[in-house]
Symmetry: D2
Subunit: 483 residues, 4 copies
């Protein structure tokens, strides 16, 4: 075995050499875009500047930086932030990641003192900056949800008296109020808001590592850092990289995605010529090259489809996190592109829904006309006749006459007397009633509970709006100095 492993040493050297060569195959830049994709780095960069600036202030507070040094570093970071806003990233192609890049740029501006920001644990820094970023995106989702809920309640109010055919299994059931469709969608989004609010409370805490370096621990003032970065308080963590709030966020986005997908799917069916309950005005349409005049409800199709993106990304995140060791690993970075995709698309679907819904034109006349037919029993009577050997076409014609007859008399098929049935066909015997669905028809359908639900929803929306508005987490005020 010895000779074997001696030989191996020689090969090992060669292998090492080969590796170095091979690594120069794909360039550093190519590899980096898979390690630390630019899109993620751009999303994190401003938060990194803000947290660095707060870190500088804590160091000054702790006496590790003089006021002068802190002021110089603060001004340096502010300049880097201004450059970022004007489109110039502090990163250059040789920076392996944003932390190295920011330290390099800051030292160009402020000299050696800049080194202090590199003393932060890179694990904790990344965890903090991701948290700041996601917190902001959550506030953005609050706004999107509130705007959309306002749209839905407005639509409910505008259509409060409109009856339309009810559907279960896409088959006719009793007529229902169009406004219920909006009310129900709003209450779903209200619960989505509620869930995100609770997530917000959970993530709006500054993580404070336990069991670390005793000396560091004594001195580092997490409370000041927390106040500067506008957290509600601090929370102990043993695993600095813990990212369950990211999994929770992706789950909540996926649930909202499902809600909007169902809403869009319903509207797509309603917008077909055959249903004809809703119309997309042309203002709304993306023109196709070949059929310039065609109205394509692509926005609705995108809303129907995007819930799959959230679900897929969530599955990815759960699988990334599955079974990895508890110590820090690169998986914390691997998760970020999926998180970025989630937050970006959540904004997108909320905004687009708020745009598309008010633009739709509901054909309330067609709806209420159809609601006056006893569609629920239509199929049953056709079946009855077909089972008595009527051809389908003839059976259908007889039933259409029956429906016209009952509509004129504001009756249901179940209300007709045996003699009335006989007028339409002698085939109708008294067993016909066994095949009919009957119920006490109540008018109006909108009882007290609907009005009460509307009032309650409106009140809740106002409260949620206040929560979202009052709440200030603008960490950039710290950077711009407006704080």
């Amino acid at each position: 075995m010895n000779s074997n492993s001696d030989t191996r040493q020689g090969k090992a050297g060669t292998a090492g050499g080969r590796a170095a060569q091979s690594l120069s195959g794909p360039t550093f830049e190519q590899i980096r875009k898979f390690w630390h994709p630019l899109s993620v780095e751009n999303a994190l960069a401003p938060y990194q500047i803000a947290s660095s600036l707060a870190y500088v202030q804590v160091l000054m507070h702790m006496g590790e930086l003089s006021q002068d040094e802190a002021a110089r570093l603060t001004e340096g970071l502010r300049q880097i932030y201004r450059e970022l806003l004007s489109g110039t990233s502090f990163l250059n192609d040789n920076d392996p990641d944003i932390y190295t890049g920011l330290a390099r740029r800051l030292s160009e501006l402020c000299g050696e003192t800049a080194g202090c920001i590199s003393r932060r644990s890179s694990v904790e820094s990344l965890a903090l900056d991701v948290r700041l970023w996601v917190r902001d995106r959550l506030v953005s989702a609050f706004r999107g949800l509130i705007e959309l809920r306002q749209v839905l309640l407005r639509l409910a109010a505008e259509h409060e008296e409109v009856l339309m055919p009810g559907h279960a299994h896409l088959q006719p059931t009793r007529p229902q109020l169009l406004s219920l469709f909006f009310m129900g969608s709003e209450s779903r989004l209200h619960r989505d808001f509620n869930r995100m609010e609770e997530l917000f409370e959970r993530l709006n805490m500054l993580p404070k590592s336990i069991g670390g370096d005793a000396q560091l621990e004594r001195e580092f003032d997490y409370d000041v850092l927390s106040r500067l970065l506008k957290f509600q308080g601090t929370t102990h963590v043993a695993f600095a990289g813990d990212g369950d709030y990211l999994l929770e966020f992706a789950s909540l986005a996926a649930i909202t995605g499902v809600h909007l997908s169902q809403l869009a799917s319903e509207l797509l069916i309603w917008s077909s010529h055959e249903f004809g309950y809703v119309r997309l005005p042309r203002a709304f349409v993306f023109r196709e090259q070949r059929f310039p005049a065609r109205r394509n409800p692509e926005i609705l199709e995108a809303l129907r489809s995007r819930s799959a993106l959230f679900a897929g990304r969530l599955a990815e995140l759960l699988s990334i996190m599955k079974g990895i060791p508890l110590g820090y690993s690169h998986e914390a970075n691997e998760a970020l592109p999926a998180v970025l995709d989630v937050v970006t698309n959540l904004d997108f679907v909320l905004e687009l829904s708020s745009v598309v819904l008010p633009a739709l034109v509901f054909d309330t006349k067609k709806m209420s006309d159809a609601a006056q037919l006893d569609l629920e029993n239509r199929g049953n009577v056709i079946d009855y006749l077909i089972e008595k050997d009527f051809p389908q076409e003839k059976a259908t014609a007889i039933v259409e006459h029956l429906l016209t007859y009952t509509k004129e008399r504001r009756k249901h098929l179940a209300d007709l007397a045996p003699a009335e049935w006989q007028e339409f066909s002698p085939a109708f015997e008294t067993d016909i009633y066994k095949f009919l669905t009957s119920y006490d028809r109540q008018e109006p359908y909108a009882g007290a509970s609907l009005a009460e639900a509307f009032r309650s929803a409106t009140k809740q929306l106002d409260e949620d709006n206040q929560f979202a508005n009052c709440f200030s987490v603008d960490v950039f005020a710290l950077v711009t100095g407006e704080d």
Copy 2:
């Protein structure tokens, strides 16, 4: 076209006939097991009896049933419940679903009056019974989480002074406390508990349909029903089938699944011969036929693996719900097998974790011995020598001597003087320090924050325990008459 469609009628008749025949191909029972799987029906059956019993009491309260009738129905339902407990389901093979089955059985016992329980909307009934069931499973998850958190805090206390090698990327970093591993896991499960508590508040409300039948609405007393079924109150719903709380539940189970998967994965690596930090006693082991003596950590592998089940089921649920119309559809049933799999497996992974953790034997001596070596710099020095053309084997031998030397002196490699390096090899020049990681070594690692975190975790666990214990949602007291 006419002749074509006439001909089609003929065919239609045939087709209908064929369909009936074909449908008798797979038997009704075979089909039913895909529609309404027995496992789901068994899970729901007791809740269905409880809610039916409460419904009977509401009808009596509303004057729609006499006290006598209500008493007879109540006794009938109690008998059915007792039969169920003793292993006899009320279902027979011809019942298309549990609602039909219960009504049939009750009418066998109580005659025609039993028909009143069929007047409930089947959509609302199913929604209610699923909610009662999941509420109970959530309480079960509370218990499982609390027990496991207790185990983890106990383990943290038992090992509070044990140092072990730290790992990042599975590579050596600074030594860390073994207890942090338990503390960190407990804090994850604390957050999981917290999330489930919030879900509980959300789902523990009786849904109250709006926009339905005005007369029904006036009369049906949801408040009494809510009190009987121990809900916290009522909440308006426009879509009776709304199941976002099921998606939320599956998400939370998936997050917990990930936490346990990581814990198990770490322990699996520790239990390898090469790590040797933990040992599974034989009491613990499932024997294999061929190697009767082998200890297989299959329980840990199951825990590592099952998070995939939660994630897959969640993906299924999200995809089932994507893009379906808003009206009621069969998808509400399609979701139930996945939900059942989630709740069953959540119980399983929590219970097994509570069993497996206390049974493990941590080799704290091996851990602390290894923690005294400067492993963090070991690889760096080997690299240093190899890059100076030492064969790997020789480089490794030199570094092992160095580690023994530093361990005896309780030093780090970075603490050695240039002369000391030279004693081990003349190849060590002063640039060696550039390749070493150095930091101020603090003893003990367990600072004030750890003790504070432990106290805070213990206090929180007590509160959560009280929440879970105090909270009574035993709807079956109603059935057994112990209420």
Copy 3:
């Protein structure tokens, strides 16, 4: 540290004792159902008997068993198989798994000689039996796919001349042939068959471990085993547990699931009252308790939904397999419930599709009537008028008149002269043409390519049918002795 670890030992003992107690909490049976679920064991049991029987014959062939011994064991296994067929499993509650169970039962019947079947590597045995099982399920999928493709081609032939409104984005486009709908679905399933055929070639090879025990290797006759179990040949494997063919199978099932989901979704929309293109006869329907007469297209909804099950299970399998070590692990067992769910549901969706499609009644008259309207331009003209400030209702009325007018003259809106437009409203100026889609209308739409495609599909289906029929993999002939 010593005292600490000594103390730990004491605790370890206690912990071990506690563990044994705790493990007796959940009973062995409860745990086993999560380890080796009964459903999986039942699925594998017959294949296990068949492969054991073949193994016995190989041992005889190799001279390790006498002819008498082999005959006795063969008869024992056949008896166990007969018992299994008559509903009595060889497993009892104390068997930890099916391999132990079979060996125990066989030794009850044949005494000590039975021990030889336990000499098989349990890893290889499980791998082999799973392969035999999945091979059979694949043959079952072949049959299901062929039957369904026959149904689709028959429907295409029956409706070859029927025109219906075309849809893109669910909006009207040019009329299309109903038969295309069936042809296109058949060609999808043809490709699905094709993929499964290739998988079959890949999995129909007996795995032959390399690098194992040299002596065993010399002697064990894989070729005889392969012939007995009707494999096409042997293939070398280094990792006995390799299960990529299971991932492939689940992927192919998921693709088929998507195809059937889209088919079902289209038919669900067509079966709505508003579309009215297809009718479900009552023979077909599952009755609901409350609305006994309602026709619910639940079968179609199940078909739409089940693709989510395949996708979720596939995601589970991929996540189970992600990142596990290469050596054998329990994950090979963890995968089996998902695989069982996939094969069972694949059979189900194929069979149900074959039943539901011929039972549907297509309203070809309604389709062809609608196909004669220029629906494609309908919305454009309504938009035109609304943008000239017509109220929607009036705009719609005008356009309905226009459509009647053009239908009677078998024209498109784009074919009308300016004067004709003016008759309907002076608002129509010559710019109306800019808003219309026009194309050369060709009759008939069914060109040569359709007939050619039909012939080609029929021919391919015949070939596939022969492939599936000719191919015999009935390993049970070996067991029943009919071979």
Copy 4:
């Protein structure tokens, strides 16, 4: 109702106006990046130019363009292609999609004649260009797989005699050959190649729409188009947007992802200090800011993790496609970002694996030293002693002595005589043998089958290499005029 719907009309007008305004909220560019993301458009653009150029040639062949016109358009398209190669896209911000953009740019260069390329059906064009693109990416995957398989076979050859401890459940089993690890991984990738080859055959056919426009059908020469674009032939399609080959591609990528994830995971564990079987040279390492000297196996962690990306994207694709209507819809576009992510990452993981594997340094001495210990029985003997009330530390010490003793004598624990056991402790009674695993130890483990498997794998790899090399699908030769 009338007054209501009249009022609604008024609102409709307003709503339309509002919509137009709202849509001007998010700019067209912002919306477009979600509709047609730039990354997807950049990936498709060259294929679109190639297919347009082929289309021009077909039109010339059919006599619809003169030779002059065709030459001018060809030169125009070539210029656009050269611009694209030099970094200038033909798209500008106002182009709604790449088809409109290319037509516009071509008409700028060639005037009105350019309009002919817009006559292609946009559905068919997109389907064709996606197919051309994915075909190319598949060829790229072929190359990546072959290179990686070469690396693995080379490693197997280099380590053919190295023994290492075997593992099952990460616990010790019999020693095994290191080379099996490479052989087994190669055979997985061989099957992956095989699957992709079959997909290639399936997708390398030009789709030919059936049932379309009869006149067009008669004249359009698909055979010429197929030849120009280097397809193997044509295939009939009824649904032009069919994308099951994309689902298949994503499935195959996910399977390969799992294979590489397991490989990486194993190596990560081996590279830990505790295992120490493999070392990453520093040449390989990405430096961290704070610990410049730390070697992080991030590449391996990325390989372990990325299989989650494939699985998540596959789940997304399957969910996007679930239950959408059969007519063309926007979902065909919605799928493309996920497909792009899959193809890009597949290239990435294959390339990185080929780089990382040869760079690793296997510590074959440590492996073979460990292989000589009877680790398999080690835990059993420790258990034996602990159950006789030995403290763990003492039990472990005794067993370490036993292992040294047996290693020196090249024996297994099961080979020791009772007297030998007694020398180590009187606690060892004769029942010790019941607790030991024993087997005939064969040397060498590498039997004939390994050599045969190696030869067979090498031969197969050569054939696959030839397949991949010979096969030319360079559609751009057409564009560059080198064809």
